[in-house]
């Protein structure tokens, strides 16, 4: 028998030739103590390392909502190990939902071909493409577009034209042809984000600017509100986002997914922009130690372990 401060351990079945103890409880006890020490001492405003969420919190998670570019990808591709994690999460009873600013067309492809994914919220929260939906049209999440109270599609095209006229060097986004609720303009040095926003305001449109694109949208939803609507109405009705949904992102345009209290936990992969480099930007609560898909893998592994 082994006696420790956290309990006694003894082999029950002595008939086996090789009798082993399982002292994993001791390791978990000390790990937990280290996590508590870290949470108390970690420098303020810095995301805690990925191991810090309590296991009981992770065990309650039903939905993993992840951004795409830079979060589940590495070098522009999704690695087989990440796809395997999607499947393992699904097999553990959880849903994987991708949340992206990419077009509905890209979202449809992701939803159709990626294993383990329940659905894709695309165009920064405006549309949902459920997995298994075949070639049906995407679901418009923003009721204002459906009931006609949102700016019209014609206004969107006029706004895009106005931006291109104002900034002659600007180029329209290459995937505008498969967008439903928005249009994009490629970001560039000669394009002032504030100037683009003012033009969009003039047409009643919303404007969000990222490192790659300026989005002109008929929808007032964002990644967070679109995700919550998609879950509540279509993918996982009854799920309590504050306790059963975790989010994973990598950049400032994912900051709405990191909003404190909105989700059970908000994770960033290693390159997630810390507040010190993006003033005013909400940082995730917890940070993976690796970039991109590898960092996502760390988070997924923790979730799977918590379930075990």
């Amino acid at each position: 028998m082994l006696v420790t401060d956290v309990g006694e351990f003894r082999v029950r079945n002595r008939s086996h030739a090789e009798l082993r103890l399982n002292l994993g409880t001791c390791v978990r006890h000390v790990e937990g103590a280290a996590d508590e020490i870290r949470a108390a001492l970690w420098p303020g405003a810095e995301p805690l390392p990925v191991w810090n969420p309590p296991a009981r919190k992770l065990a309650a998670v039903k939905v993993v909502a992840a951004a795409v570019e830079g979060t589940v990808t590495a070098g522009g591709q999704i690695a087989p190990s990440v796809l395997a994690m999607f499947e393992r999460l699904r097999d553990s009873g959880r849903q994987v939902v991708l949340v992206t600013g990419r077009s509905a067309g890209w979202g449809a492809a992701l939803a159709r071909y990626l294993p383990g994914v329940s659905g894709v919220v695309a165009e920064n929260g405006a549309v949902l493409i459920p997995a298994g939906a075949g070639e049906t049209a995407p679901v418009i999440l923003d009721e204002a577009i459906l009931d006609g109270s949102a700016p019209t599609a014609a206004a969107l095209e006029e706004c895009l034209a106005a931006v291109l006229e104002k900034y002659p060097d600007a180029r329209p986004g290459s995937d505008n042809y498969c967008r439903v609720s928005d249009r994009t303009v490629q970001a560039g040095d000669g394009i002032d984000p504030e100037g683009v926003r003012r033009i969009a305001d003039g047409y009643g449109l919303t404007c969000t600017s990222g490192t790659a694109h300026h989005h002109l949208s008929r929808s007032s939803l964002d990644k967070k509100t679109g995700l919550l609507l998609a879950l509540a109405r279509y993918l996982s009705p009854g799920t309590d986002a504050a306790t059963q949904v975790v989010t994973v992102g990598d950049a400032a345009n994912d900051a709405v997914l990191f909003e404190p209290g909105a989700f059970a936990a908000a994770f960033g992969v290693r390159c997630a922009v810390p507040p010190s480099t993006a003033p005013g930007t909400q940082a995730p609560q917890y940070m993976a130690l690796a970039d991109g898909g590898t960092g996502f893998g760390e988070i997924a592994a923790l979730l799977l372990q918590a379930r075990d």
Binding site: L2, V3, R10, V30, A34, I37, R38, L41, P49
Partner: protein
């Protein structure tokens, strides 16, 4: 040869062709305040070899200068065999390998490698002499860490790591881990990795998220201090409390490897149930090795007797005979509990010391061969002593006497 002083502490074993090396070693030890048995050309009265063996017997530490010459010397080999014998209680061997040669193939190394020592290759430098002196001083109790428990030794390493971090605010994770390894060898020899006990490796990985480096170092320092305050400092009392609960009135208890936990468990019993303590018959196994120096077994027995128990010392050889052959020349009699304080475990329950591993194997054999053997084997250790990486423990339980695959203790629980 003749004795320089009847109160010498250290014996130096060497081949005659290594005399100059031995002179340097002895001189360095003396400068460090150590009383060394002086070897002189005139053997004086009686057999010089007998005098030498008496000096070896009466020394607390024996430094063995391991060279191709001493490896070929029957006298040196005889002295090493005597010092390394499991039944020997008085002298702790400290090997000093000198020169660039295949010492691992030597018989002397085979006998002595499990004790902490110094490898001075290719030459015997001042740094090697300094390390040797430090080890000898530790063994003699010159420094407070010499006979520390694992937890106390960890505290000493922690304090030095924190001082290092304060002086090196730009240190990288690899440099910090390297420093901890160096410090733990300095304080305690080849103990299980400091990072395994403290999760420091994991924390350094996490601290990579913090910038700039000065903030990172500040965090690591505060983490280490908090870890010791909250995890290490009190864990042994919790273990001791649980252990005390397994001791029953009238038990005959064999203490095979004393530790702070075992001491605290008996103190708990003595303070809360003196009648239980008085009913115990405690047999302390007398041996040296790793942390046990000189007369520690007798001090343990005395301490337990002062607490109220009936105690006695039994030499390890008698205990081994009792276990392996059933011969009870020492009058051990019925045994109810066998207690070990253990330095570290793997997640699967392997323990680190070859001596204990062998003992556990013998106990298991007893169980297999004799259904009448009912003694309960209890190993005690704090939860932080369970290593996440099984290679740490495997490395420690490799038996230098067999020079083969690691001995496993897993069938003994």
């Amino acid at each position: 040869m003749a004795l320089d002083s009847p109160h010498h502490e250290v014996f130096v074993s060497f081949a005659s062709r290594d005399r100059l090396v031995a002179d340097r070693v002895a001189e360095h030890l003396r400068r460090g305040g150590v009383r060394v048995w002086r070897f002189v050309d005139d053997p004086g009265s009686g057999s010089w070899h007998l005098n030498e063996l008496r000096a070896l017997r009466d020394s607390k530490v024996a430094v063995f200068i391991v060279t191709p010459h001493s490896d070929a010397s029957p006298v040196c080999l005889d002295e090493a065999q005597r010092a390394a014998a499991p039944a020997r209680a008085g002298t702790v061997p400290v090997p000093l390998v000198v020169g660039a040669w295949d010492h691992e193939a030597s018989d002397l190394w085979l006998l002595l490698s499990k004790w902490n020592g110094v490898i001075a290759s290719p030459d015997l430098t001042d740094e090697a002499l300094r390390r040797l002196t430090s080890i000898v001083q530790d063994r003699l109790g010159f420094r407070s860490v010499s006979s520390l428990s694992t937890g106390q030794a960890l505290v000493a390493v922690k304090d030095d790591v924190c001082a290092y971090l304060a002086a090196h605010p730009e240190a990288t994770a690899d440099e910090i881990l390297g420093k901890t390894r160096e410090l733990q060898v300095q304080h305690r020899g080849k103990m299980v990795g400091f990072a395994q006990f403290t999760f420091l490796d994991r924390e350094l990985l996490a601290a990579g998220l913090i910038s700039p480096p000065q903030r990172r170092i500040g965090y690591i320092t505060s983490y280490l201090r908090a870890f010791f305050d909250q995890v290490v400092a009190g864990a042994y009392t919790g273990t001791a409390t649980r252990l005390a609960g397994h001791i029953m009135p009238g038990d005959t208890v064999v203490v095979s490897e004393y530790s702070r936990v075992l001491r605290q468990a008996f103190k708990n019993i003595a303070e809360t149930d003196h009648r239980l303590m008085q009913s115990l018959r405690i047999i302390v196994i007398s041996r040296t090795g790793m942390l046990l120096v000189g007369d520690e077994p007798s001090r343990m027995a005395d301490e337990l007797a002062r607490m109220g128990a009936s105690t006695r010392r039994v030499h390890f050889s008698d205990w081994a005979d009792y276990l392996m052959t059933g011969t009870d020349t020492a009058g051990i009699g019925r045994v109810d509990k066998i207690l070990f304080g253990v330095e570290a475990f793997s997640v699967a329950g392997d323990v680190v010391f070859p001596q204990i591993v062998k003992e556990l194997a013998a106990l298991q054999a007893c169980r297999a061969g004799d259904s009448g053997w009912n003694a309960e084997i209890i190993a005690a250790g704090e939860s932080y002593k369970v290593c996440r990486d099984p290679r740490e423990v495997t490395r420690m339980i490799s038996d230098p006497h067999t020079r083969s695959s690691p001995v496993r203790s897993s069938t003994c629980w």
